[in-house]
């Protein structure tokens, strides 16, 4: 197991290396990173010259890549192209925890709800509940995330305007004076609730379908029949013998989802103005700050690679039929 993890970690290095090259060269092929700045009448020639010099923009592109890679590894991505005074890593350090709070909340709840729906659908196959759950998940797959976010925002804004009850906040991460300790976290939860609901819908749709399929497969297997035959109560058969084995694929999928969502909640975060990875990325794109964009893409690619690895390791850990050597 340990050798497997070490081997996979070593294998991740060339993958990330290739990803960095792909990111760097495609961003640079797409255009001159200073194109917008050069059109800005307020930017003096001296400023542009300084930026070009600092980031070696007049060197051949492979040399530029080498400089960028060195900066990324030794200096945590260095400074943004357009704001030399600040550090990219300081911004990332601020936004990543916000994104993690949202993603953890949404995914944990979605996993619980999705698994419950999936198990019940499988146990009561072709019941009204099963059809309702199927319809719900098809709706979830067909719904644009940003539209759902806006509809929830409209709903809760109107609840507030009409009855003056503040159940959940509809934008931002904290109130102006959230207080300290437990009050801060309650306030934070009230802010994260609607964004989390938005993210949850698609995940619940996905997990419940997965869970239903794998549960149906397990329920018809021999060892479940054996468990029934030896007289175990149905509840125990379902929860102890069937559920634990049916969970295996869902756990893997959720680990993959988790990695993808670190950079995949862009829309939700920007609609609710959550100061996470998403709004930071969109801001960098609007400024056309290529160095921030590349740093962001590297962080999210690393997250995907890391959670792929976690998914594979988890898979080997929870499924005794799979042994890595």
């Amino acid at each position: 197991m340990v050798t497997y993890i070490v081997r996979r970690l070593l294998y991740s290095i060339p993958v990330l290396f290739a990803a960095s090259a792909l990111i760097f060269f495609s961003v640079h092929v797409a255009g001159d990173p200073l194109a917008t700045l050069k059109q800005n009448p307020l930017a003096s020639r001296q400023t542009i010259h300084n930026i070009e010099k600092r980031n070696h923009l007049n060197d051949p592109i492979t040399t530029q890549y080498a400089y960028w890679l060195k900066e990324a590894v030794t200096n945590k991505f260095g400074s943004p192209l357009l704001q030399p005074g600040t550090k990219i890593w300081d911004d990332l350090k601020r936004v990543i925890p916000h994104t993690l709070q949202l993603v953890v909340l949404a995914e944990v709840l979605a996993l619980l709800v999705g698994v419950a729906i999936g198990v019940y659908s499988a146990v009561r196959q072709y019941s009204i509940f099963d059809y309702a759950a199927t319809t719900f998940s098809f709706l979830g797959f067909a719904m644009p995330v940003f539209w759902l976010a806006l509809m929830l925002q409209i709903l809760f804004t109107n609840i507030f305007l009409k009855w003056h009850v503040r159940i959940f906040y509809t934008s931002g991460l904290s109130s102006q004076n959230p207080g300290g300790g437990i009050h801060f976290w309650i306030d934070r939860l009230q802010h994260l609730a609607i964004p989390a609901m938005t993210l949850m819908l698609l995940s619940i749709a996905q997990y419940s379908r997965f869970m239903r399929a794998s549960m149906l497969e397990v329920i018809n297997s021999d060892y479940v029949r054996t468990a029934r035959a030896k007289g175990l109560p149905e509840r125990k058969v379902t929860l102890k013998h069937a559920l634990r084995n049916a969970l295996i694929p869902v756990v893997t999928v959720s680990a993959l989802n988790f990695g993808a969502l670190i950079g995949g909640a862009v829309i939700t975060e920007s609609i609710f103005q959550l100061d996470g990875m998403g709004p930071y990325f969109l801001g960098a794109l609007l400024n056309q700050d290529a160095y921030v964009v590349m740093a962001w893409l590297m962080v999210t690619a690393t997250a995907v690679v890391a959670f792929n690895l976690i998914a594979d390791v988890l898979y080997g850990y929870i499924d005794p039929r799979i042994r890595y050597d």
Binding site: A30, Q125, V145, F146, W147, S270, L285, V293
Partner: protein, 339 residues
């Protein structure tokens, strides 16, 4: 063994549909068996005069699809929506840019034909939505064609040749899958420039071929071991002919299903890009942009957000149901749990 297998020619258990040796289907009892129940390849025409068409695999797939009620209903609904988009100038009461100042900010009403209401500038949202369907459909169709062709070719080449070609192509595919999709699209759109529906479509297609390439590679890996491929090789057929003339028709089921589902994903993604301001630009109307336009006033003028969104949901829902029906029709061995 006490278990009796019914289909191994036991004369006591004649089974309808077990094969050519179903001797009990005699012309003397024509009412017992309907034509549709007979399996492929039984020729009763000469003996009984019954009209019996021999059906190809495709005919069977078509019949299974037409019997999938949900998919058929979805097909009809989708056709209506798309036709509305195609004939937009004929059916919309207003042009998508026309302003009706007397009814600006109007909630949905049948008066003055503002079925979906109007925005602050008095533009009719029903007309704008119908024109938006047109743009979305155009983008989605191009994405489907380009990504299906690219994905099929890359998957076919990787699966047919295997070895280092396969390795290089698949590692490249994995690499693209590592990058967060929406972020790559946003980056491409921000630096390449956007606005034109066709350019947006090609940017989307760049990402969407990966899933299909993996599927096609998988089926080609198993198909290349089949005897008919060996026979074609022995007969001197070239690689291209074997790949696209002999193997591709046998891998076409998953490709069709995937192409259908890509249309839905493309519509959702294009809407998201346009919503964020990196997709289709005005004056081209697009469903995502319409929702973005309504965002600022969403708490008071709810209809501006609601109707374009519902249209997207309806279109994608229909496409997914059709995809589901196609999957059941084209791949009966993998029939999923659905009554």
């Amino acid at each position: 063994m006490t278990e009796t297998r019914l289909d191994d020619g036991d004369p006591e258990f004649p089974v309808v549909g077990a094969g050519l040796d179903t001797a009990t289907i005699s012309p003397a009892t024509p009412g017992a068996v309907t034509v549709a129940d007979l399996p492929d390849g039984i020729d009763l025409v000469h003996e009984t005069g019954l009209e019996l068409k021999s059906r190809s695999q495709w005919a069977y797939a078509r019949r299974r699809f037409f019997r999938h009620r949900l998919a058929m209903v979805s097909l009809v609904v989708l056709a209506v929506i798309l036709l509305a988009g195609v004939f937009a100038p004929l059916i919309t009461p207003y042009s998508f840019a026309a302003q009706d100042f007397a009814h600006s900010g109007q909630a949905p009403t049948f008066k003055a034909h503002h079925y979906f209401g109007t925005d602050v500038l008095g533009r009719d949202y029903f007309s704008r939505v119908v024109y938006g369907i047109r743009t979305s459909a155009k983008v989605a169709l191009i994405v489907m064609l380009v990504s299906t062709i690219v994905g099929t070719i890359i998957g076919a080449v990787a699966g047919y040749y295997t070895g280092w070609i396969d390795n290089v192509l698949m590692r490249f595919t994995d690499l693209i899958l590592t990058l967060p999709g929406l972020a790559v699209l946003l980056t491409a759109a921000a630096f390449l420039g956007t606005g034109n529906p066709i350019r947006v479509a090609f940017i989307l297609a760049f990402l969407f071929w990966t899933g299909l390439a993996r599927i096609v590679r998988g089926s080609f890996l198993s198909l290349r071991e089949k005897e008919y491929v060996e026979a074609a090789k022995a007969a001197g057929s070239g690689d291209l002919r074997i790949m696209f003339r002999h193997m591709l028709p046998n891998a076409v089921g998953p490709i069709v299903v995937n192409a259908t589902l890509i249309v839905g994903i493309a519509i959702l993604t294009e809407a998201a890009l346009s919503f964020l301001g990196f997709g289709i630009q005005p004056p081209n109307p697009s469903l995502g942009k319409l929702i973005a336009d309504g965002e600022d006033v969403s708490s008071t003028m709810w209809w501006l957000v609601t109707f374009p969104g519902l249209t997207i949901v309806l279109i994608v829902l229909c496409i997914n149901f059709i995809g589901d029906g196609l999957r059941d029709a084209l791949d009966p061995t993998q029939r999923r749990t659905r009554a």
